[in-house]
């Protein structure tokens, strides 16, 4: 991560904490939730998915 970019990200984080809007949140007009959230239905599936994701 280059220094300039990191500083800009830290500045945004600081701005969010000091003057960020509380409760700002948008819903989606499609009402869609992510397909991944729909596909994974059990804790076993989720654990397997995360185990692979962290391993690669």
């Amino acid at each position: 991560m280059n220094k300039k970019l990191l500083e800009e990200m830290e500045a945004l984080k600081a701005r969010a904490k000091t003057s960020g809007k509380k409760g700002l949140k948008f819903t989606l007009t499609s009402g869609n939730t992510s397909s991944l959230g729909q596909v994974i239905k059990t804790k076993e599936q989720a654990d397997t998915f995360m185990k692979i994701l962290k391993a690669i």
Binding site: L12, K22, F26, T29, G37, V39
Partner: protein
């Protein structure tokens, strides 16, 4: 469709609004016809109770307080708009080490555009992210009759398998990943 996006975090729009946990933000983009449109970015912290470390990112023009995540916009500068969205996601991840942000694509055209954007900017994005594609695999059932030509599938039994997206990998649209995930290096 914007297929020649060049991500550059030094060339982005300023965020107009941001919430305190960086999961919601907005910025004003300029369209080809010269008009301005406010785009919202929503990183959903409640995608799935079983996947607390994976957040879903969606974006689109704000219409009546909602994000129209299926809108097609003719940005004057697609590269600048996408650089802004990815920068917002990256800052969110910086605040949450070890977490992941995923994007789906509300339709096939958007999903293919994301894939092309990842591929066209692979070297640049790989400086900051590990990028995964997720494939969904379905269980093939035994044939109910031996003479059947096709195998039935169990649509309720789907497994999601992530893999690292490779540089210069080219997938046709029908074999495109079902989902994309980023985390900070």
């Amino acid at each position: 469709m914007a297929l020649n996006v060049k991500i550059n975090f030094d060339h982005r729009y300023e965020l107009d609004e941001v919430n305190e946990d960086l999961s919601t933000s907005s910025f004003t983009t300029v369209l080809k016809d010269g008009s301005n449109v406010q785009l919202g970015i929503q990183i959903n912290d409640g995608m799935h109770p079983l996947l607390p470390n994976v957040y879903n990112l969606a974006f689109g023009p704000i219409v009546d307080g909602q994000i129209d995540d299926k809108a097609k916009l003719a940005h004057a500068d697609h590269s600048r708009a996408f650089s802004t969205i990815i920068f917002a996601g990256m800052t969110f991840l910086l605040e949450k080490p070890g977490k992941y942000v995923g994007i789906d694509g509300s339709n096939n055209a958007r999903a293919y555009m994301y894939y092309r954007c990842i591929q066209n900017n692979f070297d640049y994005l790989s400086r900051y992210f590990k990028i995964y594609g997720v494939n969904y695999f379905v269980r093939i059932l035994r044939k109910t009759k031996d003479e059947d030509q096709d195998f039935p599938v169990d649509a309720e039994h789907i497994i999601a398998i992530p893999r690292l997206i490779a540089r210069e990998e080219h997938l046709p649209s029908d074999k495109l990943y079902n989902y994309f995930i980023f985390n900070l290096i």
